[in-house]
Subunit: 322 residues, 2 copies
Amino acid sequence: MQYQIQNLLPKIESALAGFPVPHQPASLYEPIRYFLKLPGKRIRPIFVLQCLELFRPVTDQDVTAALATELFHNFSLVHDDIMDRADLRRGFETVHKKWNEPTALLAGDALMVLAYNALIMSNTNALQDLVQQFNRMALAVCEGQQLDMDFSAPETVPVAHYLDMIDRKTGALIAFCFEMGGFLGHVSESERQALHNFGLAMGRCFQLRDDYLDLFGNEAITGKMRGGDIANCKLSYPVLVSMASAGADRFLQIWNKKPAESGERVAAALEWMDQNNIASLVEEKITQEMENGMALLHFVKGDEKATTRLADLCKQLAYREK
Amino acid sequence: MQYQIQNLLPKIESALAGFPVPHQPASLYEPIRYFLKLPGKRIRPIFVLQCLELFRPVTDQDVTAALATELFHNFSLVHDDIMDRADLRRGFETVHKKWNEPTALLAGDALMVLAYNALIMSNTNALQDLVQQFNRMALAVCEGQQLDMDFSAPETVPVAHYLDMIDRKTGALIAFCFEMGGFLGHVSESERQALHNFGLAMGRCFQLRDDYLDLFGNEAITGKMRGGDIANCKLSYPVLVSMASAGADRFLQIWNKKPAESGERVAAALEWMDQNNIASLVEEKITQEMENGMALLHFVKGDEKATTRLADLCKQLAYREK
């Protein structure tokens, strides 16, 4: 990710530092400043701008507009942290923990409004369409979070429902990032649609890789014990694939053991998965989504070097080791 | 309000019933449908459309766009109810009470997005400016709610700070309603600014009348015991004026009595206010704001009948008895 880190990230950080966030009342805007300053990969605006580079060079105005995706992402994190009762985010105290829930609720609301402030700075002749697609994405993200919460109640869900949930919860915003790059690059509607679907495929790759690393990552590289999602009874993709496999009876016996967080249960579940090649099934799914996505990306006619750079970035993220 | 009720309200209710709200997941959208169906005055879209009538006849597209103000208002109510831990809204269970807090949080978020969906349906050649003003309003509403919460901690605040708080918490949206009417009517920027300031003045009138009725209303007409705000230790305008008056020492003695909700304390505070003509001071302030507002409204050159109708509506609200 040398290119992104050397060329785009400094521009994004500088635009974010200069983005107009009001100061008063400090009780509302200090928490927002705090959260925006937490270390982040800023991968979403990078997606927007790298996609735009398929079509034309990036201007300062584009960088500011692309912040819409980062601001919206931060809105959703602040609100998700309230819902998940999470105390830490990126190793730092969450807003509702450091301040309180009402302040975190309002800070999230204001972050969403700031995202729209950035969005309307877009250099496009199709502002109405752009905002409409942003709204569609924003609703999908809310839907995905609601579905994710609904999923914590039942004992299992079909794999297809899980994919639908992650398409909304995390895929929709990634899809919008590439679509926004297309808007800023003034591409045709069918190309925008291809970029959107490319983003959905990449969103699946990234999320499935998250799920994969949690269960099958190299602990020496990830720095985390394998199986956290099992201990937390999270219905992640590998778990749902296991539940839908031929030997599911035995897996469910292990899965339903109490206490859920026992090391014995986690180890037994991982052993079963290893014996049943679940890791390979996840990897195959990622590769399949990657191929689908790449076909869509290459359907879009853009600068060749920029296309390769974007494809490489996505592959690095989809096959990352930590 | 015959004109509004007979002509505009049915159009607004019908547009709201037909406004595209997704259905799945029902766990997210049912709460939204429920809340939107609660009986409401729909006064904000009425403001937009009545203001627009100063400049041209209202179309169906305008009615849909004006729903942005109603949807945004409902977003803020759902989130405020969480923060205020309110069980009832308009006599019905609040969303977080009927469902749960995470669902209410997401339902509010989605309502805000739906407001933007309505807003971009506006028939205007200045969509970017319109969304920018909407965003400014939306931030002000968040700021107002935060300030209102901050106010519940200290023992008193200057009257000017209270007015600033209500300008944001309730005035900003009313100001935006009239401004939006100006946008849809394609008026000049200085006229839009006048409509905005007219709205701020009206917002003060309506809020101060709320405060007035709580303490000095005719119980036979309002149907409520006088002094609820005193029992709740709410720093409303009449209370802050009392605290800033010459005889404040005696008032503060009464105000600081415990328990706060005792009928004796409320009666003593009301008696002190009656002796010190606090009600008249509030009425004078309302009249002064009304005069300021009317001057601004008449600065804007619009249809004479429509202007009179709008002025009459505002006066009815500012001098209402219940």
